[in-house]
Structure formats: C-alpha cells, structure tokens
Amino acid sequence: MSTKYVITLCDGPSCMQKKSRELMAVVEREVEKYGFSGKVKIILSGCLGMCNKGPVMIVNPGYTIYGNVTERDIPLIIKAHFEKKLPVARLVIEEGHLYNRFYRIFGDVKFFGKQMRIALRNCGIIDPESIDDYLSVRGYEALAKVITEMKPEEVIAEVKNSGLRGRGGAGFPTGVKWELTAREKNDQKYLICNADEGDPGAFMDRSTIEGDPHTIIEGMAIGAYAIGSSRGIVYIRAEYPLAIKRLEKAINLARGEGFLGKNILDSGFSFDIEIKLGAGAFVCGEETALIHSIEGSRGMPRPRPPFPSVAGLFNKPTLINNVETWANIPVIILDGADWFSSIGTEKSKGTKVFALAGKIKNTGLVEVPMGITLRQIIYDIGDGIPNNKKFKAIQTGGPSGGCLPEKYLDTKIDYESLAEAGSIMGSGGMIIIDEDSCMVNIAKFFLEFTQNESCGKCTPCRGGTKRMLEILTRITQGQGEEGDIEKLERLGKMIKKSSLCGLGQSAPNPVLSTIKHFRIEYEEHINQKKCRAGVCQSLLSYSITDKCAGCSVCKKVCPAGAISGSLKNRHEIDKNKCVKCGICFDSCKFSAIKKH
C-alpha cells in the first residue's frame, strides 16, 4: 500500500512540552479506526518555527496547518480529511513563512522531516536559471520592501535583532558587522560575497549558488542599501564552473529586470555585482587574503586591525559575508527578525547548512535549526552508519575543526557548545568516521592539506605545520618515538597561539583533538607499532592461512620475492622481506592471506 497521507507533528522543544507525543498516540489510534494505518505516515519533525501556536500538526497533501491542536480535535481532523476532504477551518492557521514551501511538496519524509530549510528554501524546488520561478516564490520582494519602507538604519537593526551570525565559520554577529561598515564615511564602499569554500568535502555554498543564485543577489542588494555601497563582488572559486555560469546568468537576468544596476526599481538606489574568480588557494577564503587576491596581489592575510569594515578592498570600507549568510537575509526581512530569532538556541539563532559525508547512509546537504543534537543528525536524518559498523567519531568544521567521539553525540549544535566540546562549527562540513578508519591517519590527511595550503608568510604556520606533519608521517610509518605526542601537543598549541591568520590558528585542531580523544591510538602506533583500524600500511603484517591452495599466484606477483612455497603446498611470507604493499592480499583468489 502506498502512502496516501502524511501527518506531521511538530516535535520541537516548545511543542514537546505541549504534548506532541501524546497527540501522536491519539492520531495513530484514530487512523487505525478508519483502517488507514498502512496508508498514513505519521512523523515527528523538528521545530517547525510556529512555537506560539503549538502544538502544530500538518496534513499533506494539501499542506493544511493546524495550530493549538488538542486531543479532542484529532478525531475531527482525521474525519474531516479522510471522509470529507475538507480541513477543519477553526483550527487552520495561515503561515506564509518562506521556508515552509519545502513542506508543501513533502515526500522523502525521513530525510527532510527534522530539517528546516531557510537558506536552502528554494533549492530543489525552483529552476535556478529562471528568474520567473524566483519571482513567483516572493523573490525580490524583500529588496522592494527595504527600498520602499525601510531606512538603512532600520534594515541594520532588523539584522541585528535577528541574531544572525556569520555562517562562514567565525560566527561574528552579522548585524554588528553591517553597523560597523555603515558607520564609516566614504565615497565608495564595497560589498563582498565570500564564495571561495575551500574546505575539502564542503559543498554548501556551491549548492546554494547552483540551486538558488538569486537569493544571494537579493541579500547583497539589501546589504548594499543598508551600508551605502554601490559595488558588490562575488569571489567564487574557479573550481565551480556550473555555479559561476548560473550566477552569471542570474546577475544578467536581475539586471534585465531592473534589480541591479542604476536606479533600482526607480528608487534612486544603484548597485551592481561583478564576479571575481579564485585561483585555487584555500587561504583565499580568509577575508584579508581574499581582499588582496581581488586587488591583484598574492593571497596572503594581514594582521587586523584595521578590519575590512574600516579599511578593506582598496582601503575602502568593505562588508564581507559568506554565501549562506547572504542567503538568510531576504528571509529575515520578509518573515521578521522576531520569527528568525525564535529558532535556534540562545546565542546561535536560525539554522545551519551541513554537508554530511563519510560513513553514513544518507549523505547530502541538510539544513537544521541550531540546537539539534549531533546524534539526531547522524541517526535520524543520516540514518546511521552503513554495513552495521560502529560509529567512531564525527569531524566538524573541515580541516580547521576537531573530531568528537561518541560521548559528545548529545552536544547541541551551537557555536559555543561545539567550541566547548573541542571542535568548531566551521563552514558546515560534517564527516562521519567509523571503526575502520585510523584517527592518526585522518589527522595526517587534514594536516597535509593545511600544510600545503599555507601561504608561507608567518613562521609558526609555514614551519610549524611542516614539522608537525613530519612527526605524524613518521608515526604512521611505524617510526614513532617516545615523546612524539608531547611534541605534537606543544607545537600545536604554539602554532595556534602565534599564527597570523585563521588557517594557521586552526590547522593543528584535527591533531590536537584526535590526541585528546584518541590518545590510545597514537600510543598504539608509537609503542606497539600497531594500527587498530588496519589502515596504516607500514604497520600491517600479512600471513598466509591454511586456506591456501598453493596456486603460487602470490609468489609470482610479490615484488620483494618474500613469498616461498611449492605448488599445491601452503605458501609462506617472510616478514623480514615483506614491504607490506598488499599486492598478494589483493591477488589471492582463495582469501587465504590475512592482514594484521
């Protein structure tokens, strides 16, 4: 039987207090009475953002939203939908929030149930190459509202009140940044959108630009109006050709409709956007390095103060924000700062987009309200670890972040709580690690990346990360020495304290957090020359079991001549000659070779 109805009950903290769970039991009972149990899906979703009208219940198809639902109302609602196909008017609430549209085309409930798509509200719904589609979902209405009804100071106040914090990773209060830039008096101010997204495995910004480029254009135009800028630049990495193409098309279409350029919508306000391509440097995601790159210099950071809001691009006051931050602005203007700040935790408002990757069943892009726990993301949305493997750690924040083991799974997603746990929010990368991965190897992988991307300007980063990497490489090759862990910790702390920019300040994080939570793996690598996950090649040993059929294939392929034996007899590996390349393991057709 296929699903005919989906009933969603809000299970956010506020509705839970008002007994959404008990309501679920009543709903199940009523549905049973009609014999519809197989055709109705009843789910508990995350906070639906209508807390003052809770408990909230949505019935699909038809997207009827009921508010203030009590147990006595449920039989009426069920009867009304199943029999009469008419909603119970008294309880229906009208909620025109922009993000709700995603629930309008509900399906694939397990994945989207606990999400709240605000920045990604149009991704996966509209055609990104059509400005008509964007207009039909109230696109550019926020810009029009701002120009018609609000003064620049009021726009800034609204963004401040919303509690929005920079989504690029640092989490600086966006409204405050706008205020600081607006305050400067200058004939030219710049607005920059940081679309460099250098984190390996992160694709939040790419998806936003490829799925809904207009929201960024609109957000930037609103920002420009608020701070008094007429020139905007999107700095986007060259490795995103489709995103660049769609953004260019969107900018041209927006100009054609009069949303960009001189005298926008006959208001006297002028603003235009140009695109600048990056050239493959991770460090250019750092704001001062990015600014230098746009100016034509090598992308290297500089000390702050002065901050870009005072003296940025070409020494003019510059407002630079991440793609996701810009994507949230139209929603804050249309749905209000009060509503936006009702979502999330006390210090981290709104939602965050995460790129779930690694050893998890449902990889993908998820947007969740702040305050949701890591466990809910991994097991409810991500559906857990595949192949029945055991969860080992979750890496948040990309190469600048840390690895958190199982005991931190109930940490709430929030800038402060993640930092307290020893990791960072970062730009939103989330990599799930299972028991088959070696933590030392993972730390080495991230450090290799950041070491390679170091611009070289300051010694702690340039030299320090190189030395840390040398030590880590030795450890993974079985040449770890007594005192290596302490050296790594000392070096790491020193690099963090003395590096010039964020790249250096956060490069040691993966190493330090894996030492903190998985010290035993380091000790095993160094003292026992053992890699428990079986990943570090040099620490493995191979032996032939009695499944051996004596076919001699392994003896023939062994590059070191380490295998001896005669035909039809069990062969043997000489551990002294073995170079641990693993070729014999791969070639054996009888699975007779064992890895230790």
Binding site: S2, P61, D108, C123, I131, D132, S136, A144, E149
Partner: protein, 118 residues
C-alpha cells in the same frame, strides 16, 4: 509612479502568468535535479530522455530542472508532483529507469514503488 513594492507585485504576477503559460498547471510536474553532483551522476541523460518524450508527443506534463536537492547518495533524482497527492521522489534514476517512469507513471499513473525514496 509605482513604489518598488508595487512594481514587484506586478512583476510577480507577470512571472506567474508566464510560468502558467509554459504549462505549470499540467496534470503532472516533473523535476530533474541538475546541480554539479547530479550531472556528475548522470542526470543530463535523464533530462534528455524526458525532453525527447515531450518532443515526441507526451502531453500534460510540465518538465523543469531544479537545483541541488541535497540527496547525494540517491542522485540522479526525479520528482513527480501531482496536485492533491504526495509528491513521488525517485532516486538513482538512469536513462532506462526514466523511460520506465514515463511509460508507467506518467502515461499510466502507476507509481514505480521500487525506485521511490521513502
């Protein structure tokens, strides 16, 4: 002189008209994900299958592309939306599966349950 808000309302109404003119009110609406990851998984071929079906006379279907739906492990995805019904999301759609979906779901109204992402 119209205020910017009034200009926007007008533009929005015109945009909706144009979309309806392209067939938005068709019985079935089909969306194919076309972001970089979807294209890498093969969604361009899938889109072409639907386009040629419409070119060959498939009626009452509105076809559109959409951005990243975020369902990375199920790409390419195709969504079929019908007014008054729960939308059906197909995952891991290949050229052959697309042809089946056209025959069974679009022409005969039969949902191909094995490929639906629940």
């Amino acid at each position: 002189m119209l205020t910017p808000l009034e200009i926007i309302q007008k533009k929005r109404a015109e945009a909706i008209n144009r979309i309806i003119g392209k067939g938005y009110l068709s019985k079935k609406r089909v969306y194919v994900g076309m972001a970089t990851c979807e294209i890498a998984a093969g969604s361009k071929d899938v889109m072409e299958v639907f386009q040629s079906a419409i070119g060959n006379g498939l009626t009452d279907v509105y076809l559109s592309q959409k951005g990243c739906a975020g369902r990375c492990n199920f790409e390419p995805t195709v969504e079929v939306v019908e007014e008054g019904k729960i939308p059906v999301k197909y995952g891991k759609v290949t050229k052959d599966k697309a042809l089946e979906i056209i025959e069974r779901h679009l022409k005969k109204g039969e949902i191909v349950k094995e490929w639906v992402i629940e």
